[in-house]
Structures are given as structure tokens and as C-alpha cells.
């Protein structure tokens, strides 16, 4: 009875960690490795089936051979590299210092409450990134300003609609429509030397970069199913972006 109870707690903890890693933007291989490290500290072996929405995990006690299986549904994804970094560090510390179950649980609860960057900092940083993209595509500084403003407004809309719990692709569509409408004004009034560059780069903050890179690194690791799912999610996001841009271009009759 005692071992079963312990195994249940271990399974809960490992599922919590893997779901945190998965929604924070880790590739499948990283989730596997971190889980194995924590399981080995707790004298268990773990076997898992990881997908984008559900994780199935079996833990086996190395000494008694008893096992326990549990399924967990994942919350919606929100990329957070600080969590990846902290969990990775915690796993190494746990191995070096031989942490107990409660030590690991305390550490995980502590790092779940990490603060993110303030909203205004994110808005300004991403708008600068949009301006940076515009520079890479050969815009002048007036175009950079347009790209900055349209990225800012687009991200603002994305954050606001995210709070309203719409479908994520609708959020992306609305953000893309907002950003490209503002940038289209630049093309319409022919501002700067390369107004098209500002239009092209105003929606790039929505590009699902992490999903697409993780998709191919999963495929390289032979996690084909997860790789395909991530790729499909990425393509859906790109389609939603393109639809927003397309409608903005129709409104302003741009070719």
C-alpha cells in the first residue's frame, strides 16, 4: 500500500513536470530526458507517451517492480524558456544532491510562480523585433517606424483577444489583420522607400518559430507524430496570418 501511494505521488509529480515542459515549448526529447533524470533520483523507471494535448506516463519502482499509470491533459501552450532553464537546473541539482520527493515538489511549486516580463516590456521588445525584421528586409527608418507601430498594435490585439478566450487562430487572424491594416496605410500613402517591406514584416511577430523549429527537431529525433502535429499547428497559424494580410490587402486594393 505504501509503495502504491508513493508511486502515485511520483507519477503526479512527473506528469506535472512534463506538462510544464511541454506547454513551455520544450521539444519531446527534452521532456523525455528531464523526466528520466527525475525518475532516476526517485528510484523509479518511467515510460511515457507524450503528445501535444495528453501525456500518458507509467512509473515502475525499481526495487519491487510495482507500477502505476496515469494520464494527464495538458493546459494550453504558453512558451516560457525560463521554466525550461529552471527545470533543467533542478534536475541536475536533484541528481547531484539526491533530492527527495518533497524537495522536488517544493522546487517545482516555487518555479511555477516565476514572474514573466511586464506586459509593456514585452510589447516594446517585440515591436523593436518587428522593426529589426523590417531593417533586414531593406526598409529605411520611416518604414521601421511603421513596422514598429503596426507590430505594437497587432500584439496588443493578440494579448487582449487572448484574455477573451477566443479560438487561438481567430486571435492570430485579428492580430494579423490589425497589424497589416496599419502597415497597408504606409503602402497606400507611399511612405518611405520600401513601404512593402514594412507590410511584409508587420505580421512576422506572429510566425510560429518555436513550433516550426521544434517540429523539425522532433522529426530528427524520430518523434514523428509530435513533429507532424507541431508542423500542422504551425501551418494553421501561418494560414491565419496570411488570411489577415490578404483581407487587409483587399481592403486597400494592393497587389
Amino acid at each position: 500500500m505504501d509503495t502504491t501511494n508513493r508511486l502515485k505521488q511520483v507519477a503526479d509529480l512527473l506528469l506535472e513536470i512534463s506538462s510544464l515542459l511541454m506547454v513551455s515549448g520544450a521539444n519531446t526529447n527534452r521532456v523525455d530526458l528531464n523526466i528520466d533524470r527525475f525518475a532516476s533520483v526517485l528510484n523509479c523507471e518511467s515510460f511515457s507517451l507524450i503528445s501535444q494535448k495528453t501525456i500518458i506516463l507509467t512509473v515502475v519502482d525499481i526495487k519491487t517492480g510495482e507500477n502505476y499509470t496515469k494520464v494527464k491533459n495538458l493546459p494550453s501552450h504558453k512558451i516560457d524558456f525560463t521554466i525550461l532553464s529552471l527545470i533543467s537546473k533542478a534536475s541536475w541539482n536533484a541528481i547531484e544532491e539526491g533530492w527527495s520527493l518533497s524537495n522536488i515538489r517544493d522546487e517545482i511549486n516555487r518555479l511555477k510562480n516565476q514572474k514573466r516580463y511586464p506586459r509593456i516590456v514585452v510589447l516594446i521588445a517585440v515591436s523593436f523585433a518587428g522593426a529589426g525584421f523590417c531593417k533586414i528586409f531593406g526598409g529605411d527608418y520611416l518604414n521601421l517606424l511603421i513596422a514598429f507601430v503596426s507590430t505594437f498594435c497587432g500584439l496588443l490585439i493578440l494579448q487582449e483577444t487572448h484574455k477573451k478566450l477566443f479560438n487561438v487562430y481567430i486571435n492570430v487572424f485579428l492580430a494579423s489583420l490589425t497589424a497589416s491594416t496599419i502597415a497597408s496605410l504606409g503602402v497606400y500613402f507611399n511612405l518611405g522607400t520600401q513601404p512593402e517591406a514594412a507590410l511584409a514584416t508587420s505580421i512576422l511577430f506572429l510566425v510560429p518559430g518555436v513550433a516550426l523549429i521544434n517540429s523539425f527537431s522532433d522529426l530528427l529525433d524520430k518523434n514523428v507524430l509530435n513533429g507532424m502535429v507541431r508542423f500542422a499547428n504551425g501551418v494553421m497559424t501561418v494560414l491565419a496570418m496570411a488570411l489577415g494580410l490578404f483581407i487587409a490587402m483587399l481592403i486597400f486594393e494592393l497587389k
Partner: protein
């Protein structure tokens, strides 16, 4: 010559800024921000430099992403962060978003707007060339980012000696 280099440097600085911007969107640890800027700057510099010599964009992206991937091993040791934390934001400015939306726009024009067969052929060409360039750049970026682990056949960079 000097003007070209200054121009490349200016673009690279903006690439570094773009990398940091996305890093903050992905909530990277504060300690990693400078590293992300330098990696994004370096990758941008290599890519723009190679493009200036008329080298294909896929190859240029592969070289730049490999630079990020290889540097991520010593950097992971020195700032005690797993490599993805700074290698993914650093390659984000090279994400082929431009090709992605060119592809989708060509698909939409091909399907909904254009009736003239000769012009539709042009859109066919645009769909295939932009679409496959996008795919190959994406593959190059992920190969570059996972290069150290692919080459050294280790599960984690922690065990790779400096």
C-alpha cells in the same frame, strides 16, 4: 567596401535586437539576454555577409544556424542555461516568414484571383519555389540548432567537455 560592411553591421545589429525581442516574448532568463543579442548579431552578420557573396539563402542560413549551434555548447557551460534557451531566439530572425507568406499569398492569388492561364503559371512557380525554400530554411535552422547533439551523439551538452 567600407560602406557595404557598415551596412551589414547595421543589419546585424537589428538582427540581434530582433532576437532579443523574441527572447523576451519567450520569457528567457535575464542572464541570457546579452548572449541572445550576441548570437543573433553573429548569425545575422554571417548570413548577410554570405548573401552579399550571392550564396544561396538556404546554405547561408545553414552556416549561420550552425554557428549558433556550435557556440551554444561553451555558452551553455559558462552561463549555466540549457542551449535551447538562447539558440532558438537567436535563429528566430532567420525564420523564413517572408517566404511563408509569399507562398500563401501566391496560393490565394492562384486559387481566387487570377483567371489568365499564363499568369497562373507564374503563381505556380512562386508557390513551389517559395514553399520549398521555406521548408529547406526551416530544416537548416533546426539542424543548426541541434547540431552539437547530432554530431557528438550525446543526450545532453552537460556531459560534453569544454
Amino acid at each position: 567596401m567600407i560602406e557595404t560592411i557598415l551596412n551589414i553591421l547595421e543589419i546585424s545589429i537589428w538582427a540581434g535586437i530582433a532576437a532579443v525581442g523574441f527572447g523576451i516574448l519567450f520569457n528567457i532568463p535575464k542572464k541570457a539576454i546579452l548572449t541572445v543579442f550576441l548570437l543573433g548579431f553573429g548569425a545575422g552578420f554571417i548570413k548577410t555577409f554570405l548573401l552579399d557573396f550571392q550564396i544561396n539563402i538556404v546554405l547561408a542560413s545553414l552556416v549561420a544556424a550552425s554557428f549558433v549551434g556550435l557556440l551554444s555548447i561553451p555558452l551553455a557551460h559558462s552561463i549555466h542555461q540549457p542551449p535551447v534557451v538562447f539558440s532558438i531566439p537567436a535563429v528566430i530572425p532567420m525564420i523564413p516568414g517572408f517566404y511563408a507568406y509569399e507562398t500563401v499569398l501566391s496560393i490565394m492569388s492562384f486559387t481566387f484571383l487570377e483567371k489568365d492561364d499564363a499568369k497562373r503559371l507564374v503563381f505556380m512557380d512562386a508557390i513551389f519555389s517559395n514553399g520549398f525554400t521555406m521548408l529547406f530554411i526551416l530544416i537548416s535552422l533546426s539542424i543548426g540548432v541541434s547540431l552539437p547533439l547530432l554530431l557528438l551523439r550525446k543526450d545532453t551538452v552537460k556531459k560534453i567537455e569544454n
